[in-house]
């Protein structure tokens, strides 16, 4: 069956913003899908609200809609574009849910749009737990006993049947949101309410616990001719009870006999047939009783997933691409295996290596959150590592995490391994509870003499894995005393350790030397990594695709070529503060280098990304981004230079080390980067250029800090030097708070000074992205933050072009930016942050590298900044590139941040200088109000068109909230307020109804939120000293999905947005059309 010719245009739904449980992997799969469809000549219409993605680049699809991924807005796109088919399986749960809603409301039928990839029935069976259990029963497969409930009472009754602990799984939520493990009746009652609320259909499965069973996943692919292949098996190191996204996982399965594996395979094939995924991929999870081998089916997802992205990277079988091709009619045997290019895709990949995936968490950002890992996903990113053995891959993965562990090591302080102390009993007790640090606690457990058997009993982790860990420990102990003075013996010892994945840094620590000395010894002994190919077939067939990983084996398969190679360093695991936007930059630059005729070699460790797709670069090195790993690649590849400015902090941190080793850094020099990052040196530059900075100082002790604060004047912004994403950054209003900051949040020592800046209260902030060739600098865009100063730029909404800053101020910021670029000698991208207070423009920081907002600016203006940066890095001038000044656009784009608060109970949702958002969305329209409204809708905070607003603000904001409340009142909103605010409003002529605070009785504010009588919450807290009442109200709004804002500027913007929503119909328009409008306005447009 060749491809379908009855389809002409296909709509693809993206997954929206990056949130916990739905991350960059859907940019990877969506991008593959778009490319696969266009290859076949289909007209592709894409909708995704996330501007940081590759898939929303206007070159990729025929029509790119950066619009809210909600049924309402997608229906508008369907009405406008009239696609023949809708492919809903590439955008995670979000896309499936939207597609199902469009089926139910008749939109698809009305416009004759066919669902391809997965049909309605398959989606429903896979999602509805009861239907799924029935389907499994029909084919003779067992699922854990359980029942779907719709009320607390039903849940309690169901738990009587399943027993405790019981697993709760809300229907139709992503990443297990709202799920959990209830160990008793009280916990069940608490958890079930949240689960019922969070499930869009108000139902939760209460299920028999199989905590401690082994967990496996299979990735399955089926074509329309009923050919089925298993792409990959994955085994979880953490047993059942930990969400697979939070587990350390291994591919292929390690501890299944063939008999058990084939039984699982048979079940998987039966499942994909029974559920009825006619042409596409799915992921199926199994639990296996370690003592009897009993197998249960846990769930199946009839779409690509995080696991399928991992499986694609782990095997070289591009699941999203092939899944797309079979969805449009191809048979698997008609499609080539893209790696070997000589064999067909109707086969099952075999691995001659081991893949380990390790999640990365962000609990340091949410100190109030419970770090226990459960069935609800909590990690924000992941790394994948490939080695020839589990031990090698595991240790590579740990160092790739970039959490300052060079491998499987314990921290110096027990507390950093999440332990009270290092005592045997403490450790033994701890390992029963899964946390991000458990893997390191296991090491302590072995060190204090717990046996593999005991540890297995406590943790449920398979003894095979524990024995692997034990072997690492034994190897270290032997290496400490191994003779290194005799070359032959040293060679044996070192090679043995390297084959187990030990980094030079680890080995140096064991022998008491520096990493550099250890590397020198290793090089002298000729111990170098060999790069092996991921070829899908374990070497059975020749493969020409250079998808490589290192191992300390004999034969090196990497084939560096020519003298025009550029090495691009990626951004490693996604984390808060460093996400998909940097991958976007790396990919755009890579493609630009290739267009210019350079050979590109990408280095990255993140399986979720487009950059680690094997056909993006000429050679892909799936490797940790440490100095050691990068240096080995550079020595092999002998590139003309290395690109460090596009991948965020990860490659920047390596710049100095690389330069010291004689490696050429392309673009802005490490020296310039250092000037920008070094407080003292930067102050001098700003002074020379005559740019104002907020008064500031550095303190090396608490007393000194108090003195500095007194000199610069409160409030002050305090933070440790060298931080990422505003880590441990706080605004402090007095001496007491400052002292308590040191007790609570950060140490201050002569080695670890803190930076203290005057905090510019009520200032506007602005971001400027620019590109420079060393002699000329062009502004990419000036963005104004919607929230006031004090909120991390990554967490603030922003608008392009600015809407409340004067032209003179904008002009000044542009001039300053150019001055900094030329003074620092920036070659490539730079980002400058400004604050404007009382008409004065202050510079806050200069980052001579790609910023988080580069993709947002590029999507708005149509100027591909990251690609242009690649050009200037290899010597092209901006004149040659024809890039003049930034484009004027007759429209407005708003970026809004998206937060993971609903994933963490007990966490407050106020914003501050520490970044906590995981993703972003963009709204684009011809007015600020509409753009803001779209952005809110995309960020799951769709604004109401009427109803009641509930206002409760701190004293500082009481005056400023009056005009805002008056506007809402004028729009016909009922204004509700707590006593103080209500009195203040009424005294100024705004009719406001008083609502009781929680402790004042009932019905109170929370009751109103719960019962749906509040449509918008405006609540401003004061610093960290918020009251319990406020907190409860905010959590209630979050839980009941009532839109909320915690700043007055955002409340004012919301008002503008509501006016826009009420006065006109929200229109959708593609980026290609917007950019055409900009092009018409600006003769100098390029892109």
């Amino acid at each position: 069956m060749p491809k379908r010719t009855d389809l002409e245009s296909i709509l693809l739904i993206g997954s929206g913003p990056i949130v916990i449980g739905q991350g960059a992997e859907f940019d990877y799969s969506g991008t593959q899908a778009v490319r696969a469809l266009r290859e076949e000549g289909y007209r592709v219409i894409l909708v995704n609200s996330n501007p940081a993605t590759i898939m929303t680049d206007p070159e990729l699809a025929d029509r790119t809609y950066i619009e809210p991924v909600t049924p309402e807005w997608v229906a508008k796109i369907i009405e406008r574009e009239r696609p023949d088919a809708l492919l809903p399986t590439m955008g995670g749960q979000t896309a499936l849910n939207v597609a199902m809603a469009l089926v139910k409301d008749g939109t698809l039928e009305k416009y004759g749009v066919e669902l391809i990839g997965a049909n309605e029935r398959a989606i429903r069976i896979a999602e509805d737990r009861d239907e799924f259990a029935r389907a499994m029963k029909r084919i003779g497969l067992a699922t854990p006993r359980g029942r779907t409930v719709r009320s607390v009472e039903e849940a309690l009754a169901a738990a009587d049947d399943t027993g405790y602990p019981a697993i709760l799984r809300p229907s139709f939520t992503l990443g297990g949101t709202g799920g959990g493990i209830a160990y008793n009746r009280e916990e069940l009652e608490a958890l079930i309410r949240r689960g019922l609320d969070l499930s869009p259909v108000g139902s939760v499965l209460v299920e028999r616990s199989i905590i401690g069973w082994k967990e496996f996943e299979l990735e399955v692919m089926r074509d329309g001719h009923d050919n089925v292949v298993i792409v990959c098996s994955i085994e979880n190191l953490d047993p059942m009870g930990v969400h697979t996204g939070d587990s350390i996982t291994v591919a292929p399965a390690m501890t299944l006999t063939d008999r058990e594996y084939q039984r699982m395979r048979d079940a998987a094939i039966a499942i994909i047939r029974e559920v009825g995924v006619e042409a596409g991929g799915c992921n199926i999870q199994f639990a296996v009783d370690p003592s009897t081998g009993e197998q249960l089916v846990i769930e199946m997802n009839p779409r690509v997933s995080r696991s399928s992205a991992l499986a694609s990277k782990a095997t070289g079988f591009p699941i999203a691409r092939i899944g797309t091709k079979v969805a449009v009619g191809y048979r698997l045997d008609e499609l080539p295996n893209d790696i070997t290019r000589t064999t067909p895709a109707s086969f099952e990949p075999v691995l001659d290596y081991v893949v380990v995936k390790i999640p990365r968490f962000a609990f340091e950002k949410f100190p109030a959150a419970d770090p226990t890992l459960t069935t609800q996903m909590k990690s924000v990113g992941e790394v994948m590592a490939i080695g020839r053995t589990f031990k090698e891959a595991f240790q590579k993965g740990l160092r790739a995490l970039e959490t300052d562990r060079p491998g499987w090591t314990t921290a110096a302080l027990a507390s950093d391994d999440r332990l009270e102390d290092g005592e045997r009993e403490t450790v033994r007790a701890a390992i029963g509870r899964p946390t991000p640090e458990r893997i390191f606690q296991l090491r302590r457990a072995l060190e204090v003499g717990l046996t593999v058997e005991e540890i297995h009993q406590r943790s449920g982790i398979d003894p095979w894995f524990l024995d692997q860990l034990q072997q690492l420990l034994e190897a270290e102990r032997a290496f400490v005393t191994a003779p290194l003075d005799d070359d032959a013996a040293a060679r044996d010892a070192l090679r043995g350790m390297k084959r187990m994945g030990f980094s030079d840094r680890q080995l140096a620590a064991l022998r008491g030397g520096t990493e550099r000395e250890m590397r020198a010894l290793r090089h002298r002994l000729g111990i170098r990594p060999a790069y092996k190919t991921v070829d899908t077939c374990a070497g059975e067939f020749p493969s020409s695709t250079p998808y490589l990983y290192s191992s300390y084996d004999e034969e090196n398969e990497a084939a560096p070529a020519g003298d025009r190679t550029v090495v691009i360093l990626g951004s490693g695991p996604n984390r808060i503060g460093q996400g998909v936007e940097f991958d976007y930059c790396c990919v755009r630059a890579t493609l630009a280098f290739r267009e210019m005729g350079y050979r590109t070699a990408m280095v990255n460790s993140n399986p979720e990304t487009v950059s680690t797709d094997f056909d993006i670069s000429d050679a892909l090195y799936f490797e940790p981004l440490t100095l050691e790993d990068v240096l080995e690649i550079v020595e092999l590849e002998q590139p003309i230079g290395v690109v460090v400015q596009l991948g965020g902090q990860t490659p920047l941190r390596l710049a100095k080390g690389l330069e010291a080793a004689g490696v050429t850094i392309l673009g802005t020099s490490p020296e310039a980067i250092d000037i920008a990052e070094d407080r003292g040196r930067f102050e001098a530059v700003a002074r020379q250029l005559g740019v104002q900075q907020p008064p500031a100082g550095v303190a090396f002790s608490i007393d000194e800090a108090v003195a500095v604060a007194a000199r610069v004047g409160y409030p002050v912004l305090v933070r440790p030097s060298y931080v990422l994403g505003g880590r441990a950054m706080e605004i402090v209003y007095d001496d007491n708070s400052l002292r308590s900051y040191f007790a609570r949040a950060a140490r201050v020592t002569p080695e670890h000074p803190v930076l203290i800046d005057r905090f510019l209260e009520d200032a506007f902030e602005a971001d400027v992205d620019a590109i420079s060739d060393g002699t000329r600098c062009v502004i990419g865009g000036v963005m104004q933050h919607i929230e006031d100063a004090g909120i991390h730029s990554g967490d603030s909404a922003c608008v392009l072009p600015p809407y409340l800053i004067t032209d003179a101020q904008v002009r000044l910021m542009r001039e300053h930016t150019r001055a900094f670029a030329l003074k620092l000698g920036v070659v490539g991208l730079l980002n400058v942050q400004y604050a404007i207070k009382d008409g004065v423009v202050y510079v806050l920081e200069v980052n001579p590298r790609a910023s988080r907002t580069v993709p947002f600016v590029s999507k708005t203006t149509g100027v591909p900044l990251a690609g242009l940066a690649a050009s200037v890095m290899v010597g092209r001038t901006l004149d040659e590139l024809g890039l003049h000044d930034d484009v004027l656009q007759p429209y407005v784009a708003v970026k809004e941040a998206v937060f993971p608060f609903s994933k963490f109970q007990n966490v407050d949702l106020i914003l501050g200088p520490e970044m906590r958002s995981t993703g972003e969305v963009m709204g684009i329209a011809d007015s600020f109000g509409m753009a803001f409204a779209k952005a809110q809708a995309s960020a799951d905070g769709a604004l109401p068109r009427g109803g009641a607003i509930f206002v409760t603000v701190n004293d500082h904001d009481k005056d400023n909230v009056v005009p805002i409340a008056r506007r809402f009142h004028g729009l016909g909103f009922k204004v509700l307020a707590t006593e103080g605010t209500a009195r203040h409003l009424r005294a100024r002529g705004v009719p406001a109804e008083r609502v009781m605070k929680v402790y004042e009785g009932r019905p109170n504010a929370v009751d109103l939120i719960v019962s749906g009588e509040v449509q918008l919450l405006i609540n401003t807290p004061l610093g960290k000293l918020t009251q319990q009442d406020d907190y409860t109200i905010r959590r209630a709004a979050l839980q009941h999905r009532v839109p909320y804002t915690t700043t007055l500027s955002a409340a004012s913007a919301a008002c503008d947005a509501i006016i826009a929503l009420r006065s006109r119909v929200g229109e959708v328009r593609s980026l290609q059309e917007w950019h055409a409008m900009a092009r018409e306005m600006s003769a100098e447009w390029i892109g």
């Binding site: 001719h225 009923d226 050919n227 292949v229 298993i230 098996s233 292929p252 399965a253 501890t255 299944l256 006999t257 063939d258 008999r259 594996y261 084939q262 039984r263 395979r265 048979d266 370690p290 003592s291 009897t292 081998g293 048979r331 698997l332 045997d333 000589t342 064999t343 067909p344 109707s346 086969f347 099952e348 990949p349 075999v350 691995l351 001659d352 081991v354 020839r388 053995t389 589990f390 593999v452 398979d462 003894p463 095979w464 024995d467 072997q471 044996d492 090679r495 043995g496 084959r499 060999a530 092996k532 077939c537 374990a538 070497g539 059975e540 067939f541 020749p542 084996d553 004999e554 034969e555």
Partner: protein
């Protein structure tokens, strides 16, 4: 690396360093690789591997140990085993012994720590060849000479060595006589489960003796070595199958049918060994993922088998186009090159056993589950 230094030496002089946990004498054989990810125990006990040194491309071997249920014959049949890493501690609820100990008890040498990918790529480029596993830092000229003195696989009749000595019967139902050229146990299991009484007979059993058993069907098993060297079987096959006795052949049995009806077989460069080989049924275009283990193949293609006009090709390998299945145009004879009995490997081809039952006029008594 733990253990004593050891190496694999190939007849072309290339050698690969590794280590041995236990001491052993040099072991000679044809060095082949298999890409099966799981199922090492079934592989090592498969009589088709008789006389071969098996390189496992999957790097971590022995993780789940060995158990009494996953034996495809009474003992390991391989001459030696080459792995990247041998598990120290097995983990499985079914394990009764570690792989290393089990192979040692059977006197099968194992070498670990080898760059098995390098070795595999070499075999892929140069073809399967003779080799030896031995202890030591590097090969000696004496050892090389001994290696070159070993017989090569071509022209070698190993089937009679792998076969049973005395006939035996199992199961109840229509009577199938199965020629054992090195038959895997799961084939007997599958046939009896399909509802047959199976009488397993030695490879050299004359046709007359089989006829005395009054079979309803004939089965020709898998087995080691060069099919062309099993000439004594051709006449028997022609005599029994050619007279209309429903016949089913697997692997070597497939090759023998091809030869018996006029086709030719040839040695493949490095064979097919693994559990992921896609095979197309040319009759309905369905793709089966199959287990394979063969170094020789029936020559032919989609158009048929030269020299054997009575045979038509039913299955083709999607990777290299080799013949994977055939049947007689008029007689109830069919055969497949791959292993529908799996063990190890996928079960996609299980239905061939029911097909065989249909051809002898019986229905399979129940859905087949094989070794599960």
């Amino acid at each position: 690396m733990n253990g004593r230094p050891a190496f694999v030496l190939l007849e072309d002089g290339s050698w690969y360093a590794g280590s041995a946990v236990r001491s052993y004498d040099p072991a000679f054989g044809e060095v082949v690789f298999t890409t099966n990810l799981s199922g090492y125990q079934e592989t090592f006990t498969d009589p088709s591997y008789l006389g071969q040194i098996v390189v496992m491309t999957a790097p971590m071997i022995g993780n789940y140990g060995v158990n009494p249920d996953d034996m495809e014959s009474a003992r390991p049949q391989v001459s030696g085993v080459v792995v990247r890493e041998l598990a120290r501690r097995p983990s499985s609820w079914r394990a009764t012994l570690g792989l290393g100990e089990w192979l040692a008890e059977a006197g099968v040498p194992v070498i670990e720590g080898v760059d098995t990918r390098r070795l595999t790529r070499h075999l892929r480029e140069r073809g399967a060849m003779r080799g030896v596993i031995a202890e030591g830092r590097e090969p000696s000229p004496e050892l090389q000479a001994r290696l070159l003195a070993c017989p090569s696989m071509e022209g070698l009749d190993l089937a009679s060595r792998a076969s049973v000595r005395e006939p035996y019967s199992e199961g109840a139902g229509p009577h199938v006589v199965a020629y054992d050229f090195g038959m895997k146990r799961n084939i007997v299991r599958m046939l009896t489960e399909a509802g047959c009484r199976v009488t397993v007979v030695p490879a050299d059993t004359p046709a007359a003796r089989v006829r005395e058993l009054a079979p309803d069907g004939l089965f020709l098993s898998n087995g080691p070595g060069d099919p062309a060297a099993v000439g004594y079987a051709f006449a028997t096959i022609r005599e029994l199958s050619g007279k209309g006795l429903p016949t089913f052949g697997i692997c070597l049995g497939h090759q023998l049918i091809g030869l018996a009806f006029g086709g030719r077989t040839g040695k493949m460069p490095y064979g097919h060994r693994g559990g992921n080989h896609p095979v197309r049924d040319v009759r309905d275009d369905r793709v089966l993922i199959t287990t394979q283990n063969h170094g020789f193949a029936v020559q032919g293609g989609p158009e048929g088998i030269p020299g054997a006009p009575a045979l038509e090709v039913t299955h083709l390998n999607l990777n290299d186009g080799t013949v994977e299945g055939l049947r007689h145009r008029t007689l109830p004879i069919f055969a497949v090159q791959y292993h529908p009995e799996a063990a190890p490997g996928p079960h996609d081809a299980y239905p061939h056993f029911a097909e065989f039952m249909r051809s002898i006029g019986a229905q399979a008594s129940k859905p087949l589950t094989g070794n599960t």
